[in-house]
């Protein structure tokens, strides 16, 4: 998943020539360059790919700003990229992704149907993992205070109140509420919990400035009362560290981040964090989460030979051996995955009924996300009412959609 962070984490895992190890079933002779996001799962996958030889991976949290230009170049600057449903729309729109039907038939027979991302008849991407939110909580504190794991946000507020009174941690709750992309995503999760993915009408006009939008804002604001007062600067890395350092007792957090709670090099709470499904916003609602997938795409503007090599390398990366070696890095879609303690919550979130909706793969969703991110922080600093904030976001969406040619 794309996580916005000021510091670009760029890791270069390069393995040039050298004998291919036993882990790779063939020796790759065609240079394959990969661009992807920089979280743990991608590191594990690209390391496994690199064992085939001639593979260079650039892991970069700001990859989305480079990706569409790099794929539009002739020939494309990378032979493979790691994307998610939030970052694939520009590539679909400019039609720079190679349909993978022939390669899946030749080398990917073992892939499960739910790994194949399709537009029409074309297989455009192969998913390797799903990502969603889950409630990470400190089991030791809950046990000591005799608290039940909250299933709804009302229960979560009660529990948070008790934790605050107990003074066990600095703040009961953490959240990825940094103003901009992160805060907007939290609101989107609440909104989707109440109203599904109805952010825009079929004709492109906005549909989020309504009762559910306001309820989502108010619920989100209520969660911030239990957080560090500087919550408007708190991104997912910050929340991860707060939890690792024992400063918070709960967070509805990315599954891809919760795995780090058992990292002994960073965490002081190894073994103490357990996970539960993301709580629901109201009775009968979905979990406060959306479904994302991460997977690989191959550009159209490269030779068939290079595409085939890239796909074969990818299949080596997305293998059962890799999953067995890195089981807890992600909620893998690949055969051989066993959900661990820190992923149980995410699996429960994903399989809840009614379950979370997938983040829409549309141009409009990008505009909604930006408009919300720019306009709702005023509601949290107290300069705007909830109604005014959503009204401003709707106006900004209309302006931006007009500029993008979607509304007239």
């Amino acid at each position: 998943m794309k996580r916005k962070s000021l510091l670009v984490a760029a890791v270069l895992a390069a393995l040039v020539s050298g004998p291919a190890t036993a882990a790779c079933s063939f020796r790759n002779e065609v240079p394959v360059r990969i661009l992807s996001a920089a979280f743990e799962a991608w590191k594990s996958v690209t390391d496994a790919m690199a064992e085939c030889g001639n593979v260079t991976a650039s892991l970069d949290q700001e990859f989305r700003t480079k990706l569409s230009a790099a794929f539009a170049a002739k020939p494309a600057l990378y032979q493979m990229a790691g994307v998610s449903n939030t970052t694939i729309p520009p590539l679909l729109n400019q039609n720079t992704i190679r349909p993978l039907n022939d390669l899946v038939e030749k080398h990917g027979q073992h892939l499960k149907p739910n790994q194949l991302i399709k537009v029409g008849d074309d297989i455009v991407a192969v998913a390797m993992m799903v990502n969603t939110q889950e409630l990470a909580y400190r089991k030791d504190i809950f046990d000591e205070l005799g608290l039940e794991v909250p299933g709804t946000y009302d229960e979560l507020f009660e529990v948070a109140e008790k934790i605050r009174e107990s003074d066990k941690v600095a703040y009961p709750l953490g959240g990825t509420t940094m103003s901009g992309w992160n805060l907007a995503l939290e609101w989107i999760n609440f909104y989707a919990s109440l109203a599904g993915d109805s952010f825009v009408n079929p004709d492109g006009t906005p549909n989020f400035n309504n009762e559910n939008g306001i309820r989502a804002l108010e619920l989100l604001k209520r969660t911030t009362e239990y957080m560090d007062p500087e919550y408007l600067m708190s991104d997912s890395t910050f929340v991860q560290q707060q939890m690792q350092h024992g400063k918070i007792a709960m967070a509805n957090l990315w599954a891809s981040r919760v795995g780090a709670m058992d990292n002994e090099a960073e965490s002081t709470v190894v073994g103490k964090v357990h996970t539960a499904p993301s709580p629901i916003a109201a009775e009968g609602a979905r979990p406060v989460a959306m479904l994302y997938w991460d997977g690989i795409v191959i550009p159209r503007n490269i030779s068939d030979e290079a595409a085939e090599a890239a796909f074969r390398v990818a299949m080596e990366g997305l293998s059962t051996e890799m999953v067995q070696a890195h089981n807890d890095d992600a909620v893998w879609l690949i055969d051989g995955y066993q959900p661990g303690r820190l992923a149980e919550g995410a699996v429960a979130t994903a399989t809840a009924d009614p379950g979370p909706v997938p983040y829409p793969m549309t141009i409009e969703m990008g505009l909604v996300h930006s408009a919300i991110g720019n306009q709702i922080s005023g509601f949290f600093t107290g300069t705007k009412s909830a109604e005014a904030a959503l009204m401003a976001a709707e106006e900004e969406y209309r302006t931006a959609a007009g500029e993008a040619g979607l509304l007239h």
Binding site: A72, P90, P113, N114, G120, E230, L291, T383, E403
Partner: protein
């Protein structure tokens, strides 16, 4: 100097200035009156996305850009007059806010919120930078010659630090569990969150900018003090002028052209305040005009960026700087003519 020699010396730099300053400026100016957008068509497609247990497929009508035969997105550019400026400045909402005397409503519009901060930041730091720079210059000038070198070196250090890095260090010192916040909490016995409200963030920004730029003013003023005529000061002392009077009537008039120069440079720099907003992650509370342009240019996840509104915002920033500089430029132009 013959014209040809002059042209040979100036030509290359003039060419580069036209290429890298004038041409982009004209292009931004033109873009700010146009909107470029892709041609969109509506297509019904079935899309399947990954779920944990099973695939989720849906058939929907999607807006998709039209591609030409070479595979690039077809775009149209049309002239929209002042539309982009209107989208940034929002005159209707401004009028409504002003007629009802509603200050928060005005501050809820990004452009005006940014302008309010940018202006107050520029105008508050200006006297502080000049005052502090002058004080350090006078202090250094009065220290013993033997330790002057090290003192100058130490005073210059803040100016050498890269602005973004400086801003980040301030944030790490003052953020919730930063060491300075911890120290202040221990000393005052209460919970302090420097980044939880706008005014403390602005205070830190002012502090940081003055700390960062004062050495620049100091170096200029210190150089100016070296050209000070000792006789004039001694004459003033003979006439019984106090230390303050010497400063007020002899030293400052001598340094006046340099004070104008420093003000000019500082106004231009401070009006483009940007690093503080990014480094402090202050965009929820405090934004600047330069940051607004940057934010409009940042692509969202679907790859959209508001280039035309960003152009309009950039032009407005430039106009703001010009307006701020006009009084100073007029003054130095008059002085320049007077000397002749």
């Amino acid at each position: 100097m013959r014209f040809k020699t002059f042209a040979c010396f100036v030509g290359p730099s003039l060419l580069l200035m036209v290429l890298f300053i004038a041409v982009p400026l004209v292009s931004v100016f033109i873009q700010s009156f146009h909107v470029t957008q892709p041609v969109i068509e509506r297509i019904e497609t079935e899309r399947c996305t990954a779920g944990f247990l099973e695939q989720q497929c849906s058939t929907e009508i999607k807006n998709v850009p039209v591609l030409d035969e070479r595979g690039s997105i077809v775009t149209t550019t049309r002239f929209v007059g002042l539309e982009n400026y209107r989208a940034v400045v929002r005159p209707d909402s401004v009028q409504a806010a002003i007629s009802s005397w509603n200050w928060p409503a005005l501050m809820a519009i990004d452009f005006w919120k940014a302008l309010r901060f940018t202006l107050s930041f520029t105008l508050i730091t200006l006297p502080l930078v000049i005052g502090l720079g002058l004080t350090i210059a006078l202090a250094v000038n009065n220290t013993t010659r033997s330790i002057r070198g090290p003192v100058i070196f130490v005073s210059l250090l803040p100016y050498i630090i890269t602005p973004v890095i400086g801003a980040l260090s301030i944030r790490w010192l003052f953020v919730g569990d930063g060491i300075l916040t911890q120290a202040m909490e221990a000393w005052s016995g209460r919970q302090i969150s420097m980044f939880a409200q706008g005014w403390t963030i602005e205070l830190l920004m002012l502090f940081y900018r003055v700390w960062h730029v004062a050495p620049f003013a100091f170096v200029i003023f210190y150089a100016g003090l070296q050209t000070m005529n000792r006789d004039a000061i001694e004459a003033a002392m003979m006439d019984g002028a106090s230390r303050f009077e010497r400063l007020r009537y002899v030293i400052i008039p001598h340094l006046m052209p340099l004070i104008f120069f420093v003000s000019l440079i500082h106004l231009m720099d401070a009006y483009r305040v940007f690093e503080e907003v990014v480094g402090f992650r202050s965009q929820a509370h405090v934004i600047s005009l330069q940051w607004l342009t940057y934010d409009l240019l940042q692509p969202d996840d679907a790859g959209n960026r508001a280039v035309s509104r960003a152009s309009a915002s950039a032009m407005l920033t430039m106009i703001g700087i010009v307006i701020l500089l006009v009084p100073l430029l007029r003054k130095s132009w008059r002085d320049h003519k007077g000397v002749r």
